[in-house]
């Protein structure tokens, strides 16, 4: 496919910085209503007219890839299409309310949140849901704090969280943030949890096992019932990382697999836009036994009236307010748009797309059968180089070099939103990049706004602001 990304600028840069377009210094003291010793002396910032601002950001947008530009098959990221109407729903001025309003005056907002709590509980097979965590990692942290509170409530002091080596990095970091020691579980030969290794790892110190299923190579942990038994028998809880839930909607529920706590990545599974890195939302679902520990407040309904309440032995708050409202309302709308049949179909098509794409590319895929994503290997080529070359063929490449279980991994998740034609384009890009010589790979990409960027230079000499750039000159 022919592709050339927009490229503005001159010999030194692509688009001038705001500060290079205008820098104005004002003397703050002059117009201030405060005594001088309470104010800053001056303020130096860019100030652009509206037409200039519109042009600046339009140009920046044209130098940016997005899921509306083309396939974005980053594994574990679920870059599916974000329905337009959810933006209109979120923009409803009636929803623009302050979080400290009294319950009686925000019945509409609370009804939406209650509805989303309910939908997520149904989808996850969970008994209770909090919507407060503002991202997946925040959900993990919340879920682990809930697990900790549960153990503490039983005077059961546990110090370890077990995590498969191939898990998402956030799992390790979230468990450590909650004060746990991390026990890393090596993968079995088939890419799944090795039951013997798990048996050896669990003990009376085990607070929880964190697991995603399908796992990070897209393979379903078929032994999940045994895994749950091993962990539960040791007195630990089973935590479900919802990053890969897009494989299972309506077909398998974490609650039915024996999970006690889970988070949902609504910006993945439920199609809210990623916004260049966020905001997302990471609601947490739990079984009845853990519900009283959830963050406060939650929403409940009494005789048609919605109210906020604090769960009895709540861990307290994990966000200043109720999380990312604008994301949550879009997730509610998406789930309601699809309903049972749509959700089930979304997962079926996500899994079909991954399998179809895999069947069309000339790459080894060491682990299977896989579901919504697969980890191909670039073999003796550098996966990062192959990925850079794919950019020149007008697609975004998959996640590269992760998980480490697969050498030179290219973790690919096309999602249900890609059409057959688009998957064929993507497959062609995979194969074309792989067929190119090293001499063609190394200088890639050339069709993107910027050529290959010197990462080492950025890290050795960090310049993180235009002030730092100015000081250097």
């Amino acid at each position: 496919m022919n592709y050339d990304q927009a490229r503005y600028g001159d010999d030194d840069r692509y688009e001038p910085l705001l500060s290079e377009k205008d820098t104005t210094t004002v003397d703050v003291g002059e117009s201030s209503p405060l005594p001088d010793d309470l104010t800053r002396d001056s303020l130096e910032l860019p100030g652009l007219s509206e037409p200039e601002l519109a042009r600046h950001y339009t140009r920046l947008s044209q130098m940016n890839w997005s899921v509306e530009s083309g396939p974005y098959p980053l594994g574990s990221c679920t870059m599916k299409y974000n329905p337009s109407f959810t933006e209109d729903v979120a923009a409803d001025p009636n929803g623009a309310v302050h979080p400290d309003r009294s319950d009686g005056t925000v019945q509409g907002t609370l009804e939406v949140l209650y509805g989303l709590q309910d939908s997520l509980a149904r989808i996850g097979g969970m008994d209770a849901v909090t919507l407060q965590p503002p991202a997946g990692a925040a959900g993990e942290f919340t879920g682990i704090l809930v697990a900790k509170a549960y153990h503490e409530s039983r005077d059961d002091d546990r110090s370890e969280v077990i995590i498969p080596a191939s898990a998402h990095g956030t799992n390790f970091a979230s468990a450590a943030m909650a004060g746990y020691d991390v026990v890393e579980l090596p993968s079995g030969d088939d890419g799944r949890v090795d039951l013997e290794a798990l048996e050896a790892a669990v003990s009376e110190e085990t607070a929880a096992l964190m697991l995603t299923n399908p796992n990070t190579v897209g393979v379903f942990e078929r032994d999940i019932v045994e895994i749950a038994e091993i962990v539960h028998d040791a007195g630990g809880l089973l935590y479900y990382d919802g990053a890969n839930l897009n494989a299972l909607l309506g077909r398998v529920r974490p609650g039915d697999m024996g999970f006690d706590v889970m988070h949902y990545n609504v910006h993945k599974t439920f199609a809210t836009p990623h916004g260049g890195g966020g905001p997302g939302a990471g609601p947490v679902g739990v079984t009845e036994e853990l519900a009283e520990f959830l963050p406060s407040p939650r929403v409940r309904e009494r005789e048609g009236h919605y109210e906020l309440y604090d769960p009895e032995r709540s861990i307290g708050k994990v966000h200043g307010y109720q999380g990312n409202w604008l994301v949550l309302v879009k997730a509610y709308a998406y789930i309601a748009r699809l309903g049972d049949s749509g959700l089930e179909d979304a997962s079926a098509k996500a899994v079909l797309n991954a399998n179809y794409l895999a069947s069309q590319i000339d790459y080894d895929i060491p682990y299977g059968p896989f579901h919504h994503e697969f980890a191909a290997t670039a073999g003796d080529r550098d996966a990062a180089d192959v990925a850079k070359r794919m950019l020149d063929y007008g697609v975004h490449p998959p996640t590269t070099k992760w998980p480490e279980l697969v050498p030179e991994a290219m973790l690919t998740e096309p999602t249900e939103a890609e059409s057959l034609d688009s998957l064929d384009d993507l497959a062609a890009a995979f194969d074309a990049a792989m067929a190119d010589s090293d001499a063609e790979l190394e200088p890639a990409p050339s069709k993107t706004t910027a050529g290959r960027i010197d990462q080492a230079r950025a890290a050795r000499n960090p310049r993180l602001s235009w002030r730092a750039l100015g000081e250097e000159e």
Binding site: T25, P33, P134, M177, K317, G320, L352, P369, A417, L420
Partner: protein, 448 residues
């Protein structure tokens, strides 16, 4: 009526483009009979029931949700306490909603995402100008979680055996709860120091600060809207105790109030969503800025400038070895997904205002709060502001009559204010509700 349009059919996901013929062709290519055959899931964990979620058309849903949200009462909000909003110009709405921004992911392939990277670099740069500190990350979730991260940073870099984080006795209760959770696994303890008529009691703080202290947190403006008058002294107490000085503030206040770097702040946290984001039920954007010394301890993503193969300036996520996807349990934070899109909007709004506009807006926050307090204090049985200090946007109101009852009456007249306790209300005024202050005062008088 039969509606066979693909946009109305309810048999599957409307956002999966497959025609039945395409699905059949793909199944054949894969070599299976049906989609169900692709699932390698043991029978015992399959879910055969119904979730019970009724699909709806786009048209139905829009009507349903606009009906639901219309159940929210239409109130003029005089609410703040950590979630503030100012008028967001249409150009910010429009530009930020361009799908190239909205539907893009974290910039793992920088060559093809220069636009967003530059926007985030500009956001960081604006925060550097506003705080005077050389390092600002490209977002935390909100002010409360940013404070939690600051305490964790202080714990990591501590030179002494100390483990106490000192915070003001008057702080938003939600922020305190989040902070408690963020330090839960660290061994750090939170202790409070007293306030003196709305600002920090520096003498009492100095008594409390010592070897045990790893961080002193203060706010400007405070949760009650008072403007802190002794920042430099607080900074001196902190450095005297070898503790970090963490200052909580917001992006509008930064345009007018003392520059954090000039009063010795080591870390600045706070709320940046006051610009760029309309009231959104508490959704935020957390500021995190610090000194160069702590660069490698910063939580969250950083965008840096480098060069591309053509020798041109180009941007990339950098210093990623701090982050969870590389350092795992030893990462500076678990944060991955952040609030990048809000940061984009905030940067747009700041650039739209320019320095004059920002200083004007911030000055308005001082003037409007002053005039409204004066008008309210003329009512019988009302004292405003309670603290004899300068205020930013908001202030406490003491009422002889029970405050909750007054707030209820105000609500009935179409106004929302905070109830702080039995005889204290808090009122917040910005450009958004400034035109309604006279009406508020009238309603207040009627409520008495």
């Amino acid at each position: 009526m039969t509606d066979t349009s693909r946009h109305e059919h309810h048999d599957g996901s409307p956002y999966a483009p497959h025609t039945p013929a395409e699905t059949a062709a793909m199944l054949e290519a894969v070599g299976v009979e049906s989609e169900a055959d692709l699932f390698d899931v043991p029978e015992e964990v399959r879910f055969d029931g119904a979730l019970g979620i009724e699909p709806r058309s786009e048209r139905e849903l829009r009507a349903e949700l606009s009906g639901t949200l219309a159940k929210n009462d239409e109130l003029t909000e005089f609410l703040g306490r950590g979630h503030h909003s100012h008028y967001v110009p249409s150009v910010v709405e429009d530009l930020s909603r361009r799908s190239e921004f909205l539907t893009s992911y974290t910039q793992y392939q920088p060559e093809i995402t220069q636009g967003f990277l530059q926007a985030l670099f500009e956001y960081q740069s604006l925060l550097v100008e506003l705080t005077g500190l050389p390092v600002a990350n490209c977002s935390m979730y909100d002010a409360a979680t940013a404070l939690g991260e600051a305490a964790r940073l202080a714990g990591r870099v501590r030179q002494t055996s100390g483990s106490t984080v000192l915070i003001p006795e008057v702080i938003h209760e939600n922020k305190r709860e989040v902070l408690d959770n963020y330090v839960d696994g660290t061994g750090l303890e939170i202790d409070t120091y007293p306030m003196d008529d709305g600002i920090v009691d520096v003498d009492a703080l100095a008594e409390l600060a010592g070897e045990e202290t790893v961080m002193i947190y203060a706010e400007n403006p405070t949760v009650r809207g008072t403007i802190e008058e002794r920042l430099t002294e607080i900074g001196e107490v902190a450095s005297g105790a070898d503790a970090l000085f963490c200052l909580g503030t917001d992006v509008v206040a930064l345009g007018l109030l003392e520059e954090p770097a000039s009063v010795g702040a080591d870390v600045v946290v706070g709320e940046a969503d006051a610009l760029g984001l309309p009231t959104a039920y508490g959704m935020g954007l957390g500021v995190f800025a610090t000194r160069e010394t702590f660069l490698r301890q910063v939580p969250g993503r950083l965008v840096g400038a480098s060069e591309d193969a053509a020798g041109k300036r180009a941007y990339t996520l950098t210093l990623q070895t701090r982050e969870q996807h590389i350092r795992k349990e030893r990462a500076t934070s678990n944060i991955c997904t952040n609030q990048a899109w809000v940061a984009l909007r905030t940067a747009m709004h700041i650039a739209y205002l320019g320095p004059d506009g920002l200083v004007d807006l911030a000055s308005q926050c001082v003037r409007e709060a002053g005039s409204l307090a004066t008008a309210l204090s003329e009512l019988r049985g009302v004292k405003a502001p309670v603290h004899d200090r300068h205020h930013f946007r908001e202030f406490l109101v003491r009422t002889d009559q029970p405050a909750p009852a007054i707030a209820r009456d105000l609500e009935a007249s179409g106004f929302a204010v905070h109830v702080v306790d039995d005889h204290l209300l808090q009122v917040c005024v910005t450009d958004v509700n400034a035109a309604r202050t006279e009406a508020l005062v009238e309603a207040f008088e009627e409520a008495l």
